[in-house]
């Protein structure tokens, strides 16, 4: 089982133990150091340790040598955790952030407490009545958690101190659009006319019915949050956190909300936040998330692979194959009505996550 302990040789149990001992001012022994899979954006290590003889678990999150797979810094994610720890949103206790120190080759890293649980739920995909029940419970709980995040008074917790704030709810998606368009233009590896045209299409169809400005988590769902006994006990991985329209999280659940009836999940979310989500706003968000994923995969993963800064073959696979897949989906959708375009895309997959939403086609 040694192969699953770590993927890269940069960190060892000994180096972590020495660093933690110095940092905590106590003798630390690392019984086990395991890197979580797949950890493409950042390296995440589970540290099973003894601190002054007492068992304790930590999560060590480190920028990869290439600098990371998201446009935000690890410090950005640290600042999110630091503020959420004082809020009603459950997160692991953030312990410290450091960079440029004599550890992990000077790479930026943060350490948080380990929350007992897992990033998935046993039996979640079982084709049984119990599996179906578990999926219903998990989806509803995830919706409730997202709604809590979106209703959080982000200003009271200082999120506007380091995250750009839209001028108004109507401008929430405009600010998001401008930021990510600039990232794309600055970092794309080559011309992509289909993306140029897609951006015009998205801009001219941009919804302005965002009900309020929310803290937006970004990537969310199974595989990100910490679950225990069928419920989320800590929300995790905040590297794409922003201030904007919470609908983006509904579109970025990475299949979680579609584990049960997607339409029912969206309607339940509307009940939780007190505002219905219009099908048009949701459709826009679904296409927008395709674009954001494409930006990360091309301007970071593929660019760094081409430059030799990222030697992971997965970066090449995502950058070459996944980007082209997203491009083709956008090419087939540009010019259409947003909801109709999404229905058409969904109809091409065996499991349509959009079948129960919005207009018929």
């Amino acid at each position: 089982m040694a192969d699953i302990e770590r993927s890269e040789a940069a960190l060892t149990a000994e180096s972590v133990a020495d660093y933690f001992s110095a940092r905590l001012g106590s003798s630390v022994t690392v019984r086990n150091l395991r890197q979580t899979f797949p950890g493409l954006s950042r390296e995440t290590y589970l540290v099973d340790a003894e601190v002054a003889g007492e068992s304790r678990g930590f999560v060590l999150r480190v920028d990869p040598p290439s600098g990371g797979g998201t446009p935000t810094s690890l410090r950005h994610e640290w600042e999110v955790y630091r503020r959420l720890w004082t809020s009603p949103i459950p997160v692991a206790e953030p312990l410290w952030f450091a960079e440029g120190v004599d550890f992990a080759e000077g790479r930026a890293h943060m350490v948080r407490d380990l929350v007992a649980g897992g990033t998935t739920l046993p039996g979640l995909t079982a084709a049984t009545a119990e599996g179906a029940r578990l999926r219903r419970v998990a989806v509803r709980n995830h919706v409730e958690m997202l709604a809590e995040v979106h209703r959080l008074d982000w200003a009271a917790y200082g999120f506007d101190e380091f995250i750009p704030v839209p001028a108004s709810p109507d401008d929430a998606l405009r600010l998001e659009f401008d930021i990510w368009k600039d990232l794309w233009l600055a970092g794309r590896t080559e011309p992509h006319p289909v993306i140029t045209e897609a951006l015009y299409w998205l801009e001219e169809n941009m919804p302005t019915d965002t009900p309020f400005i929310s803290l937006v988590k970004g990537n969310n769902g199974i595989g990100e949050e910490i679950w225990r006994d069928g419920r989320i006990v800590a929300m995790s991985d905040w590297e794409l956190a922003s201030l904007g329209d919470g609908v983006l999280d509904l579109a970025f659940s990475q299949g979680t909300l579609a584990l049960d009836d997607f339409g029912a999940a969206i309607r339940y979310y509307g009940e939780c936040v007190g505002h219905e989500v219009s099908p048009r706003r949701l459709a826009w968000a679904m296409f927008w998330i395709m674009f954001k994923a494409l930006v990360c995969l091309n301007t970071l993963f593929l660019r760094n692979y081409i430059a030799g800064a990222d030697s992971r073959i997965a970066s090449a696979a995502f950058g070459v194959i996944s980007v082209r897949q997203y491009e083709r989906q956008l090419a087939m959708s540009i010019g259409k009505d947003l909801e109709a375009a999404l229905h058409d895309l969904a109809a091409q997959t065996t499991r349509s996550t959009y079948a129960s939403i919005g207009a018929t086609s």
Partner: protein
């Protein structure tokens, strides 16, 4: 030279898929790296055959497309610089060999795609001046061109679609 590059790539991919990966626990990092390799091998299995002819055809058709589109825009002042640029492109995007290497074809293609990008931007920036009907007609021609290109390259991408990149 026998076997062909496509056959060799396919053979390597088959070996990885049927003889190596099954020997590894799916949850290991080694298996993950092999899955990434396998996805790329399946992509390359098609790309090694398709890429050169596809780029050659694309480049030829784009040059004709640009000429026709900009001829139809000869009454648009903002399109004039692009007509001049097209002449420069035509004279500089030439191949050094009768059978150009893929790298050379790709380099020309990149210049043509950058030019297409600028045509798209010009159309949108002059949408009001063009009038909605004419704009939609021109945009439709550009999108048809893009979609055709995407459909042509599809086999290279679809070959890898059933394989996880991690």
């Amino acid at each position: 030279m026998k076997p062909s590059s496509q056959a060799l790539l396919g053979g390597i991919a088959d070996t990885v898929e049927t003889q190596v990966l099954p020997e590894l626990e799916a949850s290991t990092w080694t298996a993950s790296r092999l899955r990434s390799c396998l996805a790329l091998l399946r992509h390359l299995e098609q790309r090694v055959v398709m890429e050169g002819p596809l780029l050659y055809r694309e480049n030829a058709e784009l040059e004709v497309f640009f000429g026709e589109l900009l001829e139809d825009l000869k009454d648009v002042r903002e399109a004039l610089p692009l007509r001049d640029e097209l002449e420069v492109l035509r004279s500089t995007c030439t191949y050094s060999e009768a059978y150009p290497a893929v790298e050379e074809l790709a380099s020309v293609n990149a210049r043509y795609l950058e030019f297409l990008d600028r045509i798209i931007i010009m159309l949108h920036e002059n949408r009001a001046a063009l009038g909605e009907s004419r704009f939609e007609e021109l945009r439709g021609r550009v999108m048809d061109r893009i979609r055709e290109a995407k459909q042509r390259e599809a086999p290279m991408i679809d070959a890898a679609s059933g394989y996880s990149p991690i």
